[in-house]
Symmetry: C2
Subunit: 126 residues, 2 copies
């Protein structure tokens, strides 16, 4: 038995100017930027949602720009296997997470729990 | 003076099988499907979030699959002009909304208010 939920959406920007990208998206969406710890701040800026809904982050990437979603889970391997059974496939393991591709073609990530709401809100899979 | 906010995320699927795409994403994210009115149901299936956060929809499209975000606003033209001043550009007007492209390359839509939370949560622009 493990748990998972939609964690949030990452705005992947093919840019060397993470600050400029975060400025655009923060102002476009009316959301304040929130600095992340130094080990994450080089690639990510969080956009703070005062209502505490989903996590929205801007990420500097080297591949073409896109938006992807994260599924957070307390058991990465069990969740990846559950998603494979639904038709998704593994693309690459990076650090603690898996990049997967949906049968409809979008890439998404399966990550460890990111939000304080995880335990209360996650779906329990038998 | 007008208002806008992040409305939600649309999972664009290049498929003729909207039902199959919605089945995958609903089961992957642990979210129930919610039928939309007939004029929308041909292209869209909403994924119901019991916590009433952002709107998440699966859409059948003819372009390559991706995920895009919607900004909802009570004044489309004023919001499009605000976003142009930030560096975005107009791509195409479709029905009541505008497709725009961010300076970081992602396409997104500027749409009329979709959620009952719009009035309370939207950012007011001077």
């Amino acid at each position: 038995m493990h748990k998972s939920k939609l964690g949030g959406f990452i705005i992947d920007c093919q840019t060397a100017d993470l600050g400029g990208a975060a400025d655009f998206w923060g102002r476009a969406l009316g959301m304040e930027q929130r600095q992340l710890p130094p080990d994450e701040a080089e690639k990510y800026v969080a956009l703070a949602d005062p209502l505490g809904r989903l996590d929205i982050e801007v990420q500097a990437v080297t591949h073409p720009s896109r938006v992807h979603l994260d599924i957070e889970t307390d058991d990465i391997e069990a969740e990846v296997q559950r998603l494979e059974a639904l038709g998704a496939r593994r693309v690459a393991q990076i650090s603690t997470w898996w990049v997967m591709e949906a049968p409809t073609g979008q890439r998404f990530c399966v990550v460890r729990p990111q939000s304080p709401r995880f335990a209360a809100e996650a779906h329990v899979w038998p």
